[in-house]
Symmetry: C2
Subunit: 243 residues, 2 copies
Amino acid sequence: MELNTALYLIPVNISNAPLNDTLPPGNLEILRGLHHLIVENVRTARRFLKRCDPGFDISAVNFYELNRHTDLAAVGEYLEPLRNGEPMGVMSEAGCPAVADPGALPVSIAQREGLRVIPLVGPSSILMALMASGFNGQGFAFNGYLPIDGKERERKLKELETASRRSDMTQIFIETPYRNNRMLKVMADTLQPSTRICVACDITDPEKESIITLPASKWKGRKYDYDKRPAIFLIYAGNKSNG
Amino acid sequence: MELNTALYLIPVNISNAPLNDTLPPGNLEILRGLHHLIVENVRTARRFLKRCDPGFDISAVNFYELNRHTDLAAVGEYLEPLRNGEPMGVMSEAGCPAVADPGALPVSIAQREGLRVIPLVGPSSILMALMASGFNGQGFAFNGYLPIDGKERERKLKELETASRRSDMTQIFIETPYRNNRMLKVMADTLQPSTRICVACDITDPEKESIITLPASKWKGRKYDYDKRPAIFLIYAGNKSNG
């Protein structure tokens, strides 16, 4: 397949679902043409390529590691092959690169230098959680992680609830998986009883996926166990007809 | 294929790209098992199904139209087959249902009644534009359409720019396609020269896709023609390392 001289943004599966259920076949054709991949972790990147195609010629791929240990000043040099006319790829550990991961930096550098960037289709737990929440999809905000400190966290939750009511927006955030249960308890205790909370967990997993929307009042006292499972939290206090 | 008793959210292509390049093959397997589809427009929905598979047995599908002409009170009745144990689907005109389209209403009703909702993977111009913009993907907001009135629009643009700088968030919005050029001119004239603007146009289209990030100062006087083309506008005034 003839690739463009571009930085391809390559999504990775987010569950054990068959790859055919969450990734377009065209992505693999593009991967086969890339000999330079910027990845968060070389070992897991190799595993993904092998899962895409057990016969994948990994020896032909040059990996460039980009994670919190990377000297950000070096990332600009990673793009040298692209500057010389060779297509490159950016892969994240899971989901879509450059969304809630370090991948945005090489993309930003490519854009600054007028190098072409081509995003590919794949699973995004943030977007899929929004779709399935039933909340307003015509206005929404992703806030990353909330403060860990108890008081600050409660203030932030109330702030997001007010913003959701005032601007009729869905507010989305994430938590470190081993703290999911604690987060949900704080949400149920802190938010207005009528404010709706959606917890989207193990998205795309054929067995474990669970996407449940309930008012805060109903989450209180309800039994759940989201700890150590990948989850997205959404709150909506707006009054759209779908709200 | 054995489907779950659930409301499946089925993305639709957003360009003329081969379906294999933007949709997982698993989606078609699920579509084949659905005999009840909530769609925005029956004619275009039939066309999409025929494009997925020229032999698709459309006569076996019951369509339920959901658009601005629909009596919203009737949408609850649409879900009767699901309540009776039959899987159903929600399809949008383009992209991911329930994001910037009416699909969120049946999803909201299903969630309220404890009916299972399963989102499928597909192209989202909002998310793909964010990925390729190089802007902050760890904090972002989608604002739908901005006010049409000149003064209000300028105020809203400045408001989004300030919010982007203060909370380090990428601000995303859309415009009616025939007004894209005017919108970009107003943005370049209204925003700070250093504020970066990304215009993502014809996403996933093999020939026409264009995703360009430049500071407002460089958009000024630059030649472009985005009118009557599907485009997403993003602005970033934050100072993340990728910014």
